[in-house]
Symmetry: C2
Subunit: 337 residues, 2 copies
């Protein structure tokens, strides 16, 4: 059921099989599977994750290409609730390993926050990432285009950028290398550093070889209307026309709540096995938080894998359910056994 | 575009980037990704695969739980065609490795069959499996219930069988062990051998311990109406009432066309790496054909992985696309480079 400040007290004594941190694509898929394995789970969702911002989910089998991410999330929430999952809007502050169980401390409510602690046997970390966007004076100017024709994912949206004049927005020299992958889709690439860092001679040479302009003057604003970016205005007043853009400025990883646990990391990603199990046997990581490709289809499959691995653990440790003698009246074949 | 006997001649000289054998969930997902990577692909689909028979797809994020498998396939076909994929109804007879390319021989048409040969750089084997069903005198009697309340997948449908009187239909002694997993969902399990094999003493004892009746008399027919199985009638005239059933009789693997290639197998499954690449560097296997869990979500993610790995191969081998000098008129920043 949907939990809130008003009714969450009812669940403070409950030992969940699984608490899922993050109610995006991976977390919701895990919840659907867990409930269908007759396990109990609580999804804790802070809101407005990466998939919430997706305007069109163009590459997920079964849904029309224009389906917004938030529709899938809404639909998945209803699906999980219908199956008996609990769902709470809140921000997970800390996960602690108490030996046989985890405690999960949540901040609920932006004002007059309360800090309930829930308990579970397993935790699935499905809290994902959020892409860094160019920092301009008016951030609303960036939000107006991000997720529309200002993209953050080359795999998702390279196709939309094909043969278009594309701005590549970067925050480090290393990220400029994205241009040589984006190049598969379009050769009309202009790289914008927004004055954030110095570009070395080797990279300048490589860009020149490809014919990709490098713009180091800080950006004043993105130009456009109706969520369609049409160019960039620089501090010196110059205007660069664009038809599309790709932001490659790294991501924030929502993993702070895991920092007290002894886990194996690869950079900001959690290292997992083929079933999404981390180096902690009762903690799983799915979706963008783990190593691999950041795609909805992958996160959804990860949810399947983690839920299945947890079910196998719990099932194998459970005693057999006999067709009990006192029920023999219902057993039509008891005389043949 | 949709290919048929009438127009497939147009594609016989075309070298596809990828031919996908099987247009189920995995194959269609791969096609959507490949086309969005600006690669060309042909899907060859024999029709009536495992997912086509699924009456309700209850555990796939984003779709209502009552969505039939064939709706997803229909929708995915339209999605792939819209993106420029080719789709042919036919049965792949043989895949041959010609060094740099594959040739794929297809039988098209049940009557007056023709045998065109298509060419591609890569092949994705997505032809899946088909579950064996109990062989009764009238197979239509089995088809009436299969995919409704006579299930073939414990992971998909254990939830639907929870605490119900369930018939477990097996063809080997080893398959009886499915009862001790199904047992998580319900203790009311009756095992039917249909007289196909002898059951050893150890297994008899184990079943007795669990209170699970063992029925070795051959089955005459399944009872029920409106796709709802309500019991089994035996040769001796006895009737066993049931509320649901699970078939665990193994599967047919559609992999005959690969037998001429030197591939690594594990039983009937193809061994693949984390990107679904087989031991042949240009041949991928996705979905039920490879090792792992047979789930729609997994097949869809496999399609993502295989398509991405192929794209990376092809992209890395491709020459860079320069913003050419003769286009400088369109390059607004050419004076700054």
């Amino acid at each position: 059921m949907k939990l809130s400040k008003k009714n969450l007290d009812q669940r403070l004594d409950h030992l969940y099989d699984v608490i899922i941190v993050g109610g995006g694509m991976g977390g919701l898929s895990a919840a659907i599977y867990l409930q269908r394995y007759c396990l109990s789970c609580l999804i804790i969702e802070k809101g407005k994750g990466r998939s919430f911002w997706m305007q069109e989910l163009r590459n997920y089998l079964g849904l029309p290409p224009e389906t917004p991410g938030r529709d899938v999330i809404q639909h998945g929430q209803e699906h999980a609730l219908m199956l008996g999952a609990d769902h709470l809007r809140g921000f997970v502050e800390e996960v602690r390993d108490e030996g046989e169980t985890f405690t999960v401390k949540v901040r609920v409510g932006k004002e007059d926050s309360i800090y309930p602690v829930f308990r579970s046997k397993y935790v699935i970390a499905a809290s994902g990432i959020m892409d860094h966007l160019p920092k301009l004076e008016k951030m609303q100017n960036v939000f107006d285009f991000a997720g529309y024709n200002l993209h953050v994912c080359l795999i998702c949206d390279g196709y939309e950028m094909a043969d278009k004049q594309c701005g590549l927005f970067v925050g480090t020299e290393g990220a400029i290398n994205t241009a040589f992958v984006l190049n598969w889709f379009t050769p009309y690439i202009t790289v914008f550093t927004n004055g954030l860092f110095e570009v070395g001679d080797e990279m300048r040479h490589k860009l020149k070889e490809h014919g990709f302009p490098l713009v180091e003057t800080p950006i004043t604003q993105l130009l456009g209307h109706d969520h369609e970016m049409t160019g960039v205005e620089l501090e010196d007043g110059k205007i660069i026309p664009l038809e599309t853009g790709l932001v490659a400025m790294g991501s924030h990883y929502y993993n702070e709540y895991l920092k007290g646990l002894d886990l194996e990391w690869k950079g900001s990603n959690l290292v997992t096995d083929s079933m999404c199990r981390t180096s902690h046997p009762r903690l799983f990581a799915i979706g963008d938080l783990k190593e691999g490709i950041n795609q909805v289809s992958i996160a959804v499959a990860d949810g399947t894998l983690a839920a299945t691995a947890i079910w196998r653990d719990i099932r194998r440790a459970a005693p057999p359910r006999r067709w009990e003698e006192h029920l023999v009246g219902e057993n039509p074949m008891v005389e043949t056994t």
